[in-house]
């Protein structure tokens, strides 16, 4: 598993598209990882985007942050497991949104917390983590 993390419009998608030209792309949004397995093709790398939408949707459905984080970590673990059984890379594109002022809106604060925890939990399981800034990438 590889992780690309960076701020809004940092150029993450273009970099991933250049490095994994044959990958299949899946946007999580509200549906999350449901239905993803059906789309999995052997030998084809899978790029997962749209985590902010999934996080926003998930935090509205689950009021407990710890349970939510544990659920997300389990989903990451399942991804890693599925990758072990295949010969194709999983690539996560995650948003960096934790370097601003504390948001006024409690839901925004939770979203920011969850995005940070998700990034930490993903990085802990990833073989490579890339920080993307202004179209350039640095391996962390």
């Amino acid at each position: 598993m590889q992780l690309f993390i960076g701020g809004a419009r940092a150029g993450k998608r273009d970099l991933v598209a250049a490095r994994f030209p044959d990958a299949a792309w899946h946007r999580l949004d509200e549906a999350g990882l449901e239905g993803r397995k059906a789309r999995r093709t052997p030998h084809v790398p899978l790029v997962l985007t749209g985590w902010t939408g999934w996080l926003a949707h998930s935090l509205a459905a689950e009021p407990d942050d710890d349970r939510l984080r544990a659920g997300l970590a389990a989903a990451l673990e399942a991804l890693v497991e599925a990758e072990r059984g295949s010969d194709a890379e999983v690539v996560l594109i995650l948003p960096e949104m934790g370097r601003g002022i504390v948001p006024m809106d409690p839901a925004d604060r939770r979203l920011r917390d969850l995005a940070g925890w998700l990034a930490q939990d993903a990085a802990a399981r990833a073989e490579a983590v890339w920080y993307v800034r202004h179209g350039l990438a640095r391996r962390l």
């Binding site: 960076g6 419009r9 948003p95 949104m97 601003g100 920011r112 202004h134 179209g135 350039l136």
Partner: protein, 178 residues
């Protein structure tokens, strides 16, 4: 030679950029030019501009270029070193004062970079990193952020050196001198 220097508010990015301009000027000779993007709209801006001018010190030729700053570069003697501080403000004037579209603004920046190369000027551009906060909900703010990031990506792709500044320290992202 083109360098892109950026960081957070009061990270010391102007200081790092001015040091780089000094180094380049020492190596290349020629004049040192400052392209001011700020216009004094209120007392806070007047004080801010005065502080920057004081901190830059002597030896700068200050210009207030038009938004199409390639025109100002075209009038400079070749071989000099130029500081543009800062692109964030320039971008807001391009979008909100001049009302230009994203593509027009990007073309204007590209024109400036081309002119610097053509005239053998060394150019250092300073900007703010604003894109690692929660994505803005206001469509206008989002449009501005997307525009600024497009400029940052264009500039980073074209620049010989890309430097991130944290607490006055430079982190090299591209073309570091070792």
């Amino acid at each position: 030679m083109i360098a892109f220097v950026s960081g957070g508010a009061r990270s010391g990015k102007s200081g790092v950029a001015e040091t780089l301009v000094g180094d380049w000027q020492a190596a290349r000779g020629g004049e040192r030019h400052y392209l001011a993007t700020a216009r004094a709209g209120d007392d806070e801006m007047v004080a801010r501009i005065a502080r920057h001018r004081r901190e830059r010190g002597e030896g700068w030729v200050t210009l207030e270029p038009p938004l199409a700053f390639a025109e100002a570069l075209a009038a400079l003697p070749p071989g000099g070193t130029v500081l543009l501080d800062c692109l964030t403000l320039w971008a807001s004037r391009v979008m909100f004062e001049a009302g230009l579209a994203e593509d027009e603004g990007r073309a204007m920046l590209a024109g400036g970079l081309d002119e610097a190369r053509r005239r053998g000027l060394a150019l250092v551009v300073v900007s703010n990193d604003l894109n690692e906060d929660l994505p803005p909900r206001d469509p206008l703010v989002w449009r501005y952020l997307a525009f600024l990031q497009a400029l940052h990506r264009d500039l980073a792709a074209e620049a010989d050196r890309v430097i991130e500044v944290v607490a006055g320290r430079a982190i090299d992202w591209k073309g570091e001198e070792r």
